[in-house]
């Protein structure tokens, strides 16, 4: 299996790695870089547990190859908190009870974070549309919507 040298910047830190052509981006993040906050839920781009930001845009890292991230900027859930201060989206999920088992939460927060950067004051429908590629089995989405609204207020 051919390998490739890649450079990716993750949460502001540059990493070099020698990876197989077929290595999925999510496995680069989780297993090579050890950032296990990004989860795998479906393997088919449906559940969104693996959502990270690639050059600022939310993508599902379970169906992208690590080599495709070469030379690009990644942001994962571990990059949300800065200088010991939670991002408003994290604060929103905590305050509004936007999580239960917490497995979909990192992907859900990354999608919410990207939405608020694009659209600081989204309507409820816009929030629901934005997170419709992220599945949650525990919360029924009501409090996730509230969590994003909370973050929109605080940003």
């Amino acid at each position: 299996m051919a390998t490739h040298q890649i450079r990716v910047t993750v949460n502001g830190t540059e990493h070099k790695a020698e990876v197989e052509s077929r290595l999925l981006l999510v496995h680069l993040i989780r297993e090579v870089l050890g950032l296990t906050g990004t989860h795998i839920g479906c393997d088919t781009t449906h559940c969104g547990a693996c959502t990270v930001l690639l050059d600022g845009e939310p993508i599902k890292s379970c169906t992208m190859l690590a080599v495709q991230a070469d030379g690009r900027q990644l942001m994962t859930v571990e990059g949300l908190e800065r200088d010991g201060k939670l991002d408003p989206i994290q604060e929103g999920f905590f305050q509004e009870h936007g999580l239960q088992c917490g497995f979909c939460t990192p992907g859900m927060m990354m999608t919410g974070y990207a939405l608020l950067r694009r659209k600081p004051k989204p309507s409820e429908l816009e929030i629901r549309e934005a997170i419709s590629g992220n599945l949650c089995r525990c919360t029924g989405y009501v409090n996730i919507v509230k969590a994003v609204q909370f973050a929109a207020e605080r940003r």
């Binding site: 839920g41 239960q100 089995r137 919507v145």
Partner: protein, 788 residues
């Protein structure tokens, strides 16, 4: 009810923020696939493409040549140790790996052990299995016909495909009551196979330490202690005894019943670790999860209800065929092969009832577990709530009026049902009336009449369910002989902080928070100072785990009882410190003070310190207690839900416009968490009502084996749930609580189905099986000439 404790203490009734969240919102949870052990190897599984076939040959040569593949495990390898079969929780048997034939599509056939997960997958692709297909039996009715191929040929005396016959109630009296009724309606109601599909799939790391002779298994299990005992029973003959088995259940990404059973993958990983002396990680992918793990439901029910002309219900009879697939691998209490299905008389004062059920083998994956419901209660509730609406339609009565007429009255509690249950408490009229007011039921009926004139399709559906949870009293409830108590152990540290350990295991329910609140309620130690631990069998007291909404009714009660033992001892210490007799002390949350002299007091923290530094002579040092709580009865949460739907005449799509849920789970520990559980439960009730089904073709091929075809609700389909409550405490639970995690999943489907049928009732529609997809509705509309 106002909380008894201050917000600083944060006992029952306070919506304190969750203690588990700080790690989870930082991506610092520890889920199974996050754990990495030194020298760890990876396992992947070869699965059968056939639903029923003879295995002619398994050629592993090419797989073993893949660089990085270290071994292949087949049924023949396990057979050397007699580990190729295992018992199910229902005392049936199932294969771990086959030696002769496969019985369902996606069944485990062999396992590859490799240095990493990609190489393991390469190994799987390189295994060449030669199959000889056998006739497939997918329809449980055909499976019961004479001459049907007998599937369980491994069972020597088995001559047919019936697993068990079960019945409850008085057959003769019910038959007579139905015969004497003015009106009898009957309906065939099918609840299809569905899958819990927690967002985290199942997996484990089996780590056998040869030097210590100890096996540690990190695994996605809702019941770690029971699993340890099962492992000891299954593998005792190869030297794994229970004190050398440790099960650790880390953070669990949703369970809903799917993480109760022992799946073959776990057992193979354990065998591989023992054989190789290395940690073995196995994580299933979503396709394996949907295609091979335990399913829920698959009940074919024929429900009949009788009534007098005025609508008084007289009798209920239900006959059910339960499709269990290849093995009865349900997770019911042992004496209840059909779970608690006999709750099917529901919220009504039905004096005559009879139910019978046959469990049947087919060539589908084994099961069935719950899907966020106490044992088979959703099936029961769907039957009674659907048939009640059919009866209302027949009698031309409003379904709310029919329910209010037949509800068990508040003064009838504790109520003894015709099928043998003692309902602990309830007030069904108040709950339904509250829901009707909240949604403006009368206004909706008026609107519906006007819309009908214009040809618009709008429906209103009610479900007034009674749950039965908290299994259970040891007199009746056990799993493989182990009584279904649960446990708590609380230790108060010298500085007045505490650690509390429980026999259950949270999978998102928030036990770290709510159990701390129970300790806070009973001892006045702030919930933030109480660390809660679950899931490690080396440290937690023995318990049967978390499912069937049993955590609060059993382990939560144990927590209260253990705390009360501690309070009793604390009182002795306080009396010693204050130099008064125990009788002279009064308790308020967090301190004992002297009667009539409130300035003379000792806080629980003072007392804790004294327990280690200045304990009275004749009393043991320390401040801790254990409780194994054996509930005297089950608990019976209830509620009334009302759903309003609009149906698109062109596409048949159903849109839930409003959904009001009034729940009663007794006294509430954390209102925020209860609300969240109801939101989630409602969504998992809507899912099978409108979207989800594990479907097969006649050849046994799974047609919904990934999230491409198995449709979980997204934020777009899910309505904005409106929740409210009534509070009717359980008279026998020490905290008056009842359990709530599953009420909404149980109660919601018939509310939605009833609303859709109600929207189409004027066209002569009486029943539609769930999931009510746009296609099903569109076909009805086409048949009725409503759409082209």
């Amino acid at each position: 009810m106002a909380p008894k404790t201050s917000p600083e203490i944060g006992g029952m009734g306070h919506s304190i923020k969750r203690k588990e969240d700080p790690r989870l919102i930082r991506g610092k949870g520890t889920f199974i696939d996050d754990i990495k052990l030194p020298g760890m190897l990876y396992m992947d599984i070869v699965r059968s493409p056939y639903a029923h076939a003879k295995i002619v040959n398994i050629n592993t040569e090419a797989a073993l040549k893949v660089p990085g593949v270290l071994g292949v495990i087949t049924g023949a390898d396990l057979a050397k140790y007699n580990l190729h079969w295992m018992p199910t929780l229902m005392s049936d048997t199932q294969m771990v790996l086959p030696v002769e034939k496969v019985m369902y599509q996606a069944q485990e056939v062999a396992a590859i052990i490799a240095t990493d997960r990609y190489t393991a997958a390469d190994g799987v692709a390189a295994v060449d299995v030669d199959y000889d297909p056998l006739p497939v039996v997918m329809d449980p009715f055909k499976a019961m016909e004479p001459g049907a191929p007998v599937l369980r040929t491994d069972k020597k005396d088995k001559k047919d495909n019936r697993i068990f016959h079960w019945e409850a109630g008085d057959r003769v009296a019910t038959d007579k009551a139905l015969k004497d009724s003015d009106v009898v309606v009957s309906e065939d109601i099918y609840i299809p196979r569905i899958h819990v599909a927690s967002i985290e799939t199942c997996g484990c790391i089996a780590d056998f330490d040869r030097a210590r002779g100890k096996l540690t298994v990190y695994m996605t299990t809702q019941a770690p202690h029971a699993i340890r005992t099962v492992f000891a029973l299954v593998a005792g003959h190869v030297g794994l005894s229970e004190e050398r088995i440790r099960i650790v259940s880390p953070d669990i990404g949703g369970g809903f019943g799917g993480k109760v059973p022992v799946y073959p993958g776990y057992v193979i990983a354990v065998a591989a670790s023992v054989l190789l002396g290395k940690p073995i990680k196995w994580i299933e992918d979503r396709m394996e999860n949907l295609q091979a793990d335990s399913f829920a439901r698959d009940y074919h029910m024929k429900a009949e209800i009788g009534a007098k002309k005025d609508g008084t219900m007289t009798a209920l009879r239900i006959k059910t065929i339960a499709d269990h697939g290849y093995a009865d691998a349900a997770a019911n209490p042992s004496k209840f092969p059909a779970g608690l299905f006999s709750i099917c008389t529901g919220s009504y004062d039905l004096r005559k009832a009879f139910v019978e059920l046959d469990g049947v083998y087919t060539n589908k994956p084994p099961g069935g577990v719950a899907y966020r419901c106490s044992f088979r209660v959703t099936e029961a509730v769907h039957a009674i709530e659907r048939i009640t609406d059919v009866l209302a339609q027949q009698l031309k009565m409003d379904p709310a009026e029919l329910r209010l007429k037949n509800f068990i009255k508040p003064e009838q509690f504790p109520y003894h049902s015709a099928l043998g249950w003692e309902y602990d408490s309830g007030d069904y009229h108040t709950a339904l009336k509250k829901a009707m007011t909240l949604i403006d039921y009368a206004g909706l009926r008026k609107e519906q009449a006007e819309k009908r004139k214009k040809g618009q399709l709008m429906g209103i559906g009610i479900s007034s369910f009674t749950e039965i949870v908290g299994a259970g009293p040891s007199k009746h409830f056990d799993i493989l002989g182990i009584k279904m108590f649960d446990s708590a152990e609380i230790r108060i540290h010298p500085t007045g902080k505490a650690i509390a350990r429980f026999g259950t295991k949270s999978q998102g329910q928030g036990h770290e928070t709510t159990y701390a609140q129970i300790v806070a309620e009973e001892l006045g130690i702030p919930a933030k100072d109480v660390e809660v631990e679950e899931g490690d069998t080396d440290t937690a007291p023995y318990g049967l785990g978390t499912y069937a909404s049993r955590s609060t009714p059993t382990a939560g009660a144990a927590g209260a009882m253990a705390a009360r033992k501690i309070r009793d001892k604390a009182k002795k210490i306080a009396a010693h410190l204050l130099e008064v007799s125990e009788e002279d002390l009064v308790w308020e949350p967090g301190k004992f003070s002297v009667k009539g002299a409130p300035q003379k007091s000792k806080t629980i923290q003072d007392i804790a310190f004294a327990a280690y530094t200045n304990h009275p002579q004749g009393l043991e040092a320390g401040l801790e207690a254990v409780s194994y709580y054996d509930p005297p009865n089950l608990t019976f949460p209830f509620g009334s839900y009302i759903c309003v739907v609009d149906i698109d005449r062109g596409t048949g799509a159903v849109k839930i416009r409003r959904f009001v849920a009034v729940d009663d789970c007794g006294n509430i520990i954390n209102p925020m968490i209860v609300d969240g559980q109801i939101h989630g439960g409602l969504t998992m009730g809507m899912a099978p009502a409108l979207l989800e089904e594990i479907a097969y073709d006649e050849g046994g091929n799974n047609l919904s084996g990934s999230f491409i075809d198995y449709l979980l609700p997204t934020a777009m389909e899910t309505p904005k749930w409106e929740t409210d409550k009534t509070v009717t405490p359980s008279p026998h639970h020490p905290l008056g609580a009842k359990g709530v995690g599953e009420s909404a999943t149980v109660g919601a489907p018939p509310a939605i189905a009833n609303a859709v049928v109600d929207a189409l009732a004027h066209l002569g529609v009486r029943h539609i099986d769930i999931p009510i997809t746009p296609e099903k509705v569109w076909r009805i509309l086409k048949e009725k000439g409503v759409t082209e």
